[in-house]
């Protein structure tokens, strides 16, 4: 199951972070998302090593740990979409389609004329939409 999705701005500042664990431990997810920026930085700044994926927005698996996986997606405005899942058996294609939907939701959210670019996304409809996307992702699993 997806435990967290996040949008990180091009200056690596958090724009949106939603935890789906249900418990009050979002801080650790902040940490995970923040640390995963290291990997994104590394991939983006080392085009030599990731030449094949350079032109792709989907960054793939950032972080294979024993217990959770972090996937990343980089928009062309250098906004990072990050997803943390505890589901260790995820298909890349699923994640790709998830990010496509997530990206579309993000684009719609920032198209809102009342949204200040570079500021946190506070839109409720965006949260709801993200929630729907997350719930529809893959077979739902329990923790």
């Amino acid at each position: 199951m997806i435990v967290c999705v996040a949008v990180v701005g091009h200056q690596n500042n958090p724009l949106y972070l939603q935890s789906f664990t249900g418990s009050d431990d979002a801080l650790k997810l902040h940490h995970i998302v923040h640390c995963s920026l290291d990997v994104i930085d590394e991939r983006v700044n080392n085009p030599k090593r990731s030449a094949s994926t350079l032109n792709e927005t989907f960054l793939g698996l950032l972080y294979p740990t024993e217990n959770y996986k972090v996937y990343g997606y980089l928009t062309n405005t250098k906004v990072k979409l990050i997803m943390v899942t505890t589901d260790l058996d995820v298909k890349d294609a699923d994640v790709r389609s998830f990010f496509r939907k997530f990206h579309a939701a993000y684009v719609d959210a920032v198209c809102n004329p009342f949204h200040v670019p570079g500021k946190k996304i506070t839109s409720n409809s965006f949260s709801e939409r993200v929630g729907t996307i997350v719930r529809s992702f893959g077979p739902s699993m329990t923790l």
């Binding site: 690596n12 500042n13 418990s23 009050d24 940490h31 640390c35 290291d38 090593r49 024993e66």
Partner: protein, 1228 residues
């Protein structure tokens, strides 16, 4: 075949000296050749073929020479020939036939048959012959014979395709022999290797085809594969060897995954918890055989160890680390699947040891390695990953045995631990029977440990370090206990996510429960009831001791100090390595963990440094939630260290975080701390940037516009992020010019105290005059106690968004525009023509404000010399448009205060002045008409208008007003009768633009004249009143005659008296004088002197100009100018000095045209006789060519009227240019 495993292993271990080359010592030459042969190995260079049959250059190929008679070779032939190929790698790769023969016959009869015999046995063997010639080179026949024999040998054994012989001269070895030897040896090895590889591959293919048949046996496959791999390894073809192992691993994981058969996993032997992933000889393979395959636990490690060995040989520690990391993770998953069959926490212990082993070996192989920076960073990243993986598992173990409360509940630890499932043993370890003392000790330890309180009394639910409550998990896993038990029930409402806290909470809530827990004797019934937390810890510790065989790990877990030491080591290792990699964030965040440990140990200084780094990282990227977690720690360190500046800055940063991150109470506490410190006994003022906390912006709407030099009042909205009101002792605001270089704009100061409410405050600041330009808000500075704060934070509108401070956006909207200097008012004179001299006249000033209020303005009027302001009169102010108003105001000391109504309208201000001219007006003769100079009547008035809000604007102007007499009078004698009666015409020309009415006129004559009618001084014809229109003339005639009474002259000049009135408009010019108007008659008397001259006398002296001596004058040529002076008549006795016997003369010449060479001025004697004459000669030099006035002779003492010019001198004379002179020319 599988039975050969043991043999295979032992052979493999014995084959550690490289490829075998057998030596067939035919002619007993080995003892003498051995040394030379062995000096050639390892072969420096050989070209071998790799698996894909591509040539590969191999260096330092190890090889050993063994005589065919040697027992090592003899004993090898296995009994069963069928499986000989299994050990082929150890068979000789080449055979060297060492022969010698001195005689051709011997060769034919003995050596050749023998060699044929040796070689006929096996065709597969690769061989070559070394012919040793023992002939002395001095012994010619012998060496010739040796050559013959060798030639024969070559003939017999060489083929067209291949030369198999080489010759070694014992006494004088040919230098190329050894190269030849090497290449032949390498060729043999290559051929053998190729053949064997081919063979092995064929076999492997055959076996692979049977893979899905029941007879498939992995061990056989393994032996074949490993033999091939080993052969490659012996031939230094490590790359190929590695590939074989990779394929083997793949094949194993494919076959191991086949369902159906239950196989032992392994890992239950003592010492298995120590990962052997880098030690291929950890266990005999024979011990791990199970049916037709190997036990997974050992075999996977074995394969990895073999791969790692080869990778190290290939010099790729990075790859070992990378493969190792993923191997550890994947193997950990495998271990998790078999966890219920493994000892308690076996998986964690294995991961720890595996990581440590990988770290140790990769680092030792890396040392001194030179890598490109990218690779290096990657390597360190992997090291960091290994360290942190190890660290996580280590923390998990520590938590299980009760050190959980010592682990910082930070996001990083929580992220690692709370998502990591608990170990899942089949049965949770139970308490050992005699552990009551340990349980008590543990109990005590837990009770004594206080959860670290956050500074500022911040109450937060600590982050979990466990996936679920340990107590519940442990009891649930004890199969014979039901889920619902007393502790669970209590937990359900004491569940705050922190396992270690549960017990203490229980203790406080339920004393009866506590007594039961702590009483020793009840320990006996632990098996029947749920365990308490300390029991869980003790049981886990006991079980762990059974699992762990590594003394280091045991030691690290034995006490809190040891745990902290190891924890520090691992954290530091991870952080240091991450710092060297791309993953800076990981490194910095782990620094935070190190800081927590330092803090606990009381090393506050180091802790503060590390915390600062972490805070900088989080705040730099705006991760406020994380910052809010760590910043209080930093503040606490700074407080302990007495770092006031740092502490204040931390308080400010805490306050500037999202207000939702802290409770209002906490934020109030931050502010209280700040205020306490700021007003406390700080020695030095502390400068602090509060840009994120206090922001400011100009008021909405257009910018304040000020005229140059005007002060103003600026309104600024200051947004305060403080939760309470805060008192600012003073407040300064700098404005910066939005264009051009900023030359130090002075801050606007406001010394008064300001109290900022939370949120929006409007502050008014007095603005001193600024230079012209447009200004934006610069910085806001001020003081709170000793705290000098400074804010650059601009917010566009409304409360600042909390992440504003990430990017300082300079606002572009100006708040103030100071206009360039422009005229704000214009004052001009309302009177266009001359006024009356010596009369009280109104002067009008048109005061025209130019879009600027003159409110409160004061006009200074300073009359210049010859002009007097009549202050006794009121000043009149009237609107330019008459409807706009009229007012009379007093003037005092030259100052007029302008009334309010004039501030915005154009007005005319009238004030009375009197121009004074002491001298009496003088008429002129028509013979010499002389216009009165305007300058004489010009008077200046200096005006200074002070206006503006603070009378800061000054307008200064000097205006000129002309005054004049009403008339200009000229006289003329129109007729002269013989009896001396003269008709004197007096012409009056009006000088003013007003109508003049002459009511009366009379002439007081000077001596020497008298009126015809002695009593009437009035004109001959009385036509009064005479009206003279502006600028027109009128004439009056007087009849006078010459008269001489011989008395002393009493009156030199005649005086004309005119009584007149004036009708004029003051807006145009001259008008009725004020006093005259007051008196009512409106008549003024104007007096003017007239100089009447007696009729002109005959001249007494004649001056004549004599012609020049030469025709033409030239520049630079001397010329004599001559005048003749002649006395025309005898001077009369009473005539003045003009007729003495000497005459004063003066030559007047333009010095630019003439140079006078003689005396310019002097006396010459002239006899008093009538007709006497003299000549005056003056030498002059003309200076310029052209027509010039000649010098003139004047006689200053003789009046001009007495001089007759006869003959008259020329007006102009022609002066020619100088003749050309060559004296200045320089010959070429």
């Amino acid at each position: 075949m599988a039975n050969y495993l043991a043999q295979f292993q032992s052979i493999k271990t014995s084959c550690d000296r490289g490829v075998v080359v057998s030596v067939e010592d035919v002619s007993d030459l080995w003892p003498s050749m051995k040394e030379g042969f062995e000096a050639r190995v390892p072969l420096k260079e050989a070209s071998l073929n790799n698996r894909t049959r591509n040539p590969v250059r191999v260096v330092n190929l190890a090889a050993q020479f063994i005589l065919t008679t040697d027992a090592r070779l003899r004993s090898r032939f296995p009994q069963d020939n069928q499986f000989q190929y299994l050990f082929w790698f150890r068979e000789p790769y080449a055979t060297v036939l060492l022969v010698s023969c001195d005689d051709l016959d011997d060769f034919k009869t003995i050596l050749r048959p023998r060699l044929k015999l040796i070689l006929q046995n096996d065709d597969d063997r690769e061989w070559f012959i070394v012919f040793v010639s023992r002939a002395d080179p001095a012994n010619d026949p012998a060496s010739k014979m040796a050559k013959k024999v060798y030639a024969r040998l070559e003939l017999d054994f060489n083929t067209k395709k291949r030369e198999r012989c080489c010759k070694y001269d014992f006494h004088a070895p040919h230098p190329s022999f050894w190269d030849d030897f090497d290449s032949k040896l390498a060729e043999c090895i290559r051929n053998t290797l190729d053949r064997r590889v081919q063979f092995y591959e064929d076999e492997i293919r055959k076996l692979t085809e049977q893979r899905f048949l029941p007879i498939w046996n992995f061990c056989n496959f393994f032996i074949l594969k490993e033999s091939l791999a080993f052969m490659f390894e012996m031939a230094n073809l490590h790359e190929d060897s590695l590939r074989e192992y990779d394929e083997l691993e793949l094949c194993y994981s494919e076959t191991a995954g086949t369902p159906g058969k239950h196989r032992d996993f392994g890992g239950i032997d003592h010492g298995d918890d120590r990962a052997a992933l880098l030690n291929p000889s950890f266990k005999q393979l024979t011990l791990i055989v199970q049916d037709d395959t190997f036990r997974e636990f050992e075999f996977r490690q074995y394969i990895f160890a073999c791969q790692a060995k080869l990778l190290f040989k290939l010099g790729r520690p990075l790859e070992v680390a990378a493969r190792g990391h993923s191997f550890v993770i994947s193997f950990s998953k495998v271990l998790a699947m078999h966890e219920n069959a493994l000892p308690f926490c076996f998986r964690e212990v294995w991961v720890i040891t595996a990581c440590l082993a990988l770290l140790k070996s990769t680092m030792s192989h890396y040392n001194g390695g030179v890598m490109p920076p990218d690779i290096e960073r990657e390597f360190y990243r992997l090291q960091g990953d290994l360290y942190s993986l190890c660290r996580v598992k280590f923390m998990r173990l520590a938590y299980l045995i009760g050190y959980g409360h010592e682990i910082e509940k930070s996001p990083v630890n929580s992220a690692a631990l709370s998502m990591l499932p608990w170990p899942k043993p089949a049965i949770w370890p139970a308490l050992s029977p005699d552990s009551s003392a340990e349980v008590l000790a543990k109990e005590k330890m837990i009770l004594q440990s206080k959860p670290r309180e956050k500074h500022f009394n911040i109450q937060r639910k600590p982050l979990p370090l466990e996936p679920s409550l340990l107590l519940r998990e442990a009891n649930r896993r004890r199969a014979f206990l039901s889920v619902g038990n007393i502790s669970e029930l209590l937990e359900s409402h004491a569940n705050d996510g922190s396992g270690s806290d549960v017990n203490s909470r229980l203790a406080s809530k339920n004393p009866s429960y506590m007594s039961r827990t702590f009483s020793g004797p009840t320990m006996s019934d632990t098996r029947d009831r749920p365990m308490t937390l300390s029991e869980v810890h003790v049981a886990a510790e006991y079980a762990l001791k059974l699992t762990v065989s590594n003394p280091d790990i045991l030691n690290s877990l034995s006490s809190l100090e040891e745990f902290e030491k190891k924890y520090m080591e691992l954290t530091k290792g991870a952080a240091d390595n991450y710092h060297k990699s791309w993953w800076k964030r990981h490194g910095v965040i782990l620094d935070g963990e190190i800081a927590a440990l330092h803090f606990k140990k009381g090393e506050i200084d180091q802790a503060a440094k590390s915390y600062e780094k972490v805070c900088a990282l989080y705040s730099g990227e705006g991760w406020h939630e994380l910052l809010a977690d760590i910043l209080p720690n930093l503040a606490e360190c700074q407080k302990i260290l007495n770092d006031e500046a740092g502490y204040l800055s931390s308080c400010i940063r805490l306050l500037s975080l999202d207000s939702g991150l802290f409770l209002t109470k906490e934020r109030q506490l931050f502010q209280a701390e700040l205020v306490r410190l700021a007003h406390g006994d700080m020695k030095h003022p502390v400068p602090l940037d509060v840009s994120s906390l206090i922001t400011f912006y100009g008021t909405a709407g257009p910018a304040l516009e000020l005229c140059d030099g005007d002060p103003g009042v600026l309104q600024v909205t200051v947004w305060s992020g403080f939760p309470d009101e805060i008192v600012l002792e003073n407040l300064n605001l700098t404005l910066s010019a939005s264009f051009g270089a900023d030359e130090g704009v002075k801050p606007i100061k406001s010394a008064e105290k300001h109290v900022l409410k939370p949120g929006k405050n409007v502050i008014t600041l007095d603005l001193p005059p600024q230079k012209p330009g447009s200004y934006v808000l610069g910085a806001l500075t001020g003081q709170i106690g000793h705290l000098q704060f400074r804010s650059h934070g601009f917010s566009k509108a409304g409360p600042a968004d909390s992440d504003d401070f990430m990017s300082y956006e300079k606002p572009t909207r100006p708040v103030l525009k100071v206009l360039s200097p422009r005229p704000l008012v214009d004052i001009t004179c309302a009177v266009s023509s001359a006024l009356l001299m010596n009369e009280l006249q109104w002067i009008g000033l048109i005061i025209k404000p130019l879009d600027y209020s003159l409110k409160g303005g004061i006009l200074h009027i300073d009359a210049g010399p010859g002009l007097k302001i009549e202050e006794s009169h009121l000043i009149e102010i009237e609107g330019y448009e008459p409807a706009e108003g009229f007012e009379k105001v007093p003037i005092e000391g030259g100052k007029v205060a302008l009334p309010d109504w004039v501030s915005d309208v154009t007005t005319v201000l009238w004030f009375p002045v009197c121009a004074i001219d002491e001298s009496m007006a003088r008429g002129t003769s028509s013979a010499l008409p002389q216009k009165p100079s305007i300058v004489d009547g010009m008077r200046m008035i200096a005006l200074k208008l002070e206006f503006g809000t603070f009378r800061n604007q000054i307008f200064e102007r000097t205006i000129a007003v002309t005054f004049t007499d009403p008339f200009h009078v000229t006289t003329r004698i129109t007729d002269k009768s013989t009896d001396g009666t003269l008709l004197l015409q007096v012409m009056l020309q009006s000088q003013v633009k007003a109508t003049l009415n002459i009511h009366d006129a009379w002439l007081d004559l000077q001596d020497g004249f008298e009126h015809m009618s002695k009593t009437d001084k009035r004109p001959t014809l009385s036509t009064f009143p005479l009206v003279i229109s502006p600028s027109s003339k009128a004439g009056i005639l007087f009849t006078v005659r010459l008269y001489s009474n011989g008395e002393e002259a009493s009156q030199q000049d005649s005086i004309l008296n005119l009584k007149y009135g004036i009708t004029g408009n003051r807006t145009i010019g001259a008008h009725t004088p004020i006093l005259a108007k007051v008196e009512g008659s409106g008549e003024i008397v104007f007096k003017i002197t007239l100089a009447l001259q007696r009729p002109v006398l005959d001249p007494c002296v004649a001056v004549g100009f004599l012609p020049f001596s030469s025709d033409c004058l030239r520049v630079g040529q001397l010329v004599n100018v001559k005048w003749r002076i002649e006395r025309l008549k005898n001077p009369e006795a009473d005539v003045s000095s003009s007729c003495r016997d000497e005459v004063l003369y003066e030559v007047d010449a333009n010095p630019q045209n003439w140079m006078v060479a003689g005396r310019k001025k002097g006396h010459v004697s002239l006899s008093k006789e009538q007709g006497s004459r003299i000549e005056i000669t003056v030498t002059c030099v003309p200076l310029v060519s052209g027509y010039v006035h000649p010098p003139q002779l004047g006689l200053p003492e003789v009046g001009e009227q007495n001089i007759s010019c006869n003959p008259a001198g020329p007006h102009l004379v022609c002066v020619l240019p100088p003749t050309l002179s060559s004296s200045y020319c320089i010959p070429a």
